[in-house]
């Protein structure tokens, strides 16, 4: 049983290793710490978003609002740091509070009004993008010595790679998510609801609290991703990160999490993010391929992994059928 649920994770891992080895064989420079460090830094905000998306998708839901939440966070931080003199850390806490509360509100609507997550988070996406526009339609630069200090924090590895704070934050998020998902009751409840909401309720899983918690986690992590994004770009722009929700969903699926919910791992998502980052790095290295190939290759990968999941599902049911048939005969 555990063999078949972990198999997609191993395949994602193997795909990443194989792709990396192939890339490194063609361009030896890709194996340098510089490229690896950039892989982490460039994908930090997407990686953090994808963790929240993993929670949501494990529970059988979907969150389309994350891209807008990231943009809103960026604009909010930029405007509040420009207009007031509060410390960025206070602003961080404030924005995390807002985005977590926003996610929780969406979770509440989904649970109490029995509306599909798809439509509720779609409205949330419009709302957050709209609020970002209201705050500012222009790109607002962030200049604060605390930001400069945060951006100057890095560990220089041999070979010239700079492992920055944001990359470390992403890794930390993944470790924390793993602990929450596999070692706490909340994490088990997420899997239970994704497996079957009805069964979970009959078994005494607090559905309301868990659903609200899941979307709060997703909203909060999108807020954190927004903070990381401002550290990455030093600006807040309301048109930024359009379509990031799709990239996050794609990374989760490539990572082997079932979109029907109930089965998957955060670690898979991590390698999904790395695979997507690797594709982009390869296109940069190649120089002749155009950027639209990224979309086509990611679409192809999505398709391959969905078919793989289907194939594994069929194989499992076929084996169960075979087993029950032989049981009946004996």
């Amino acid at each position: 049983m555990s063999q078949s649920t972990k198999l997609p994770l191993y395949i994602t891992l193997a795909t990443f290793v194989l792709a990396f080895v192939l890339c490194a064989a063609q361009y030896p420079a890709m194996a340098s710490t510089r490229v690896v460090a950039n892989l982490l830094t460039d994908n930090a905000f997407l990686g953090i978003t994808a963790v929240g998306m993993t929670f949501v998708i494990l529970s059988g839901g979907i969150d389309l609002s994350v891209g807008s939440v990231i943009a809103f966070t960026g604009v909010f931080l930029a405007v509040i740091l420009r207009e007031t003199s509060i410390h960025p850390l206070v602003a961080f806490a404030l924005v995390l509070l807002i985005t977590t509360g926003f996610g929780a509100a969406m979770g509440g609507i989904i649970h109490y009004l029995e509306m599909p997550p798809f439509i509720v988070t779609l409205a949330g996406m419009f709302l957050m993008r709209g609020l970002a526009y209201v705050l500012s339609t222009e790109s607002v630069p962030i200049t604060h010595e605390f930001y400069d200090w945060l951006q100057s924090l890095y560990w220089k590895a041999p070979g010239g790679g700079r492992f920055r704070l944001t990359g470390a934050l992403m890794l930390l998020t993944y470790v924390a998510a793993m602990i929450v998902l596999h070692r706490t009751r909340f994490g088990q409840n997420v899997y239970a609801i994704g497996g079957s909401a009805q069964t979970a309720q009959l078994m005494g899983v607090p559905r309301a609290r868990t659903t609200i918690g899941i979307y709060a986690v997703s909203g909060g992590l999108a807020g954190l991703a927004g903070i990381v994004y401002t550290l990455y770009t030093s600006a807040g722009y309301s048109l930024a990160t359009v379509g990031v929700e799709l990239d996050a969903i794609a990374a989760v699926v490539i990572g082997g999490t079932l979109l029907t919910g109930g089965s998957g791992f955060v670690a898979g998502t991590f390698f999904g993010i790395l695979i997507m980052g690797l594709i982009q790095t390869y296109i940069v290295f190649d120089g002749t391929l155009s950027s639209w190939w990224t979309k086509i290759v990611i679409g192809g990968l999505l398709f391959a992994f969905i078919m793989l999941q289907k194939g594994l599902g069929w194989a499992t049911t076929a084996r169960i059928r075979l087993l029950t048939a032989s049981d009946a005969r004996s």
Binding site: E114, F118, G124, G130, A250, V253, W292, G299, I306
Partner: protein, 348 residues
């Protein structure tokens, strides 16, 4: 039949009337229609004209959602169709051939989605996500990343021209909706689609070929999207692979949901979805005419959507039903245990 249809779409008609009335409030000349240079001009015509792509997409999307599916790829299919038509015209093809090629591309996309859903039994939201992500890349591949402009009068007329003084897009979406509606409702097809949406297994046991129906439904959605893509490309005289049809899938799904069709499949009404599309366009026009800063556009739209969704949510409907049952005259029949879809009452 007629009376029940009217009863079914009553909430949408009321909302549309309210939105239009609000339009008149902020802009008294809203209903004025003038005849100039052989073409009708007026805000009302504009709403009908600008609503064409959403209305076309909503027609196909209604059928897909009725089978308990969803088609996320329509925006990307629009971009592909626009790119195909533009590159064909630029390459010297006649505009009718270009439109046919765009439709063929849309049909191919629909067929791909349908095969994934019906044969490989992949969840519709995932199956169409593949094309949503990859489709825009394919469209960019066709236009080589640039905005492909063209100057073919025949093709441009589809988006910006008129027939009998009425803009062509209006004719197109009304014709397509009528054709689809007639085929669906004058035959058993509509009933069969609803059966597949309510319970696919039992419909199959009852002898319905669910697979063929599912593929056909995604095919129709692909064709509608291709037509919408051609209109949008013709309107701006160019194929913009990046922005054509961007977020249109969300507008289309919203139109269907505002039309009171359940995302859980089953009973559907194309008329109601079209009214939903007009409501969305009416709200857009309201925001424009009221002279509010455009920054507020999305916030207001989101709040209106949330209000409409809350009114239509099963839980709120059930409480309203209970409230009416407890205060009104004693009901003979027992209240339903749990209303599953909002539109189960009404519409035959």
């Amino acid at each position: 039949m007629m009376k029940s249809t009217l009863k079914r779409v009553m909430p949408q008609i009321i909302i549309l009337a309210l939105v239009l009335a609000a339009n008149v409030l902020v802009f008294p000349g809203f209903f004025n229609i003038e005849f100039q240079h052989g073409r009708l001009f007026g805000n009302l015509i504009d709403v009908l004209n600008r609503g064409a792509p959403t209305a076309l997409l909503a027609t196909g999307m209604t059928l897909v959602i009725a089978t308990r599916g969803i088609d996320l790829s329509v925006g990307a299919v629009m971009a592909i169709a626009g790119a195909v038509a533009a590159s064909a015209v630029v390459g010297g093809a006649h505009w009718t051939l270009a439109v046919l090629m765009a439709l063929a591309a849309g049909a191919a996309c629909g067929l791909w989605n349908g095969l994934l859903v019906a044969i490989f039994r992949i969840q519709p939201i995932v199956a169409t996500l593949v094309l949503m992500v990859a489709g825009r890349g394919i469209a960019q591949l066709l236009t080589e990343g640039a905005i492909l402009t063209f100057n073919d009068p025949g093709l441009i007329r589809l988006g910006a021209g008129t027939i009998a003084a009425v803009p062509t897009p209006i004719w197109i979406w009304i014709a397509v909706a009528c054709a689809v509606g007639l085929v669906i409702r004058r035959s058993a097809l509509g009933l069969l689609i609803e059966a597949v949406g309510i319970n696919q297994t039992s419909s199959r046991l009852a002898g319905i070929n669910a697979r063929v129906l599912l593929i056909a439904v995604y095919l129709v959605s692909g064709l509608c999207a291709a037509l919408a893509g051609v209109i949008v490309a013709a309107d701006i005289k160019g194929a913009d692979a990046n922005n054509a049809g961007l977020w249109m899938e969300l507008d289309a799904i919203l139109a269907v949901v505002i039309g009171g069709n359940s995302l859980l499949g089953g009973r559907f009404s194309i008329t109601a979805s079209l009214l939903g599309a007009l409501i969305i366009q009416g709200v857009n026009s309201l925001i424009l005419l009221s002279g509010m800063p455009v920054e507020f556009n999305l916030v207001i739209k989101a709040l209106i959507i949330i209000a409409i969704l809350v009114i239509q949510s099963p839980r709120v409907r059930h409480s309203l039903y209970l409230l009416r049952a407890s205060t009104g005259p004693v009901l003979r029949e027992r209240p339903k245990p749990a209303p599953r879809t909002p539109q189960e009452e009404g519409q035959s």
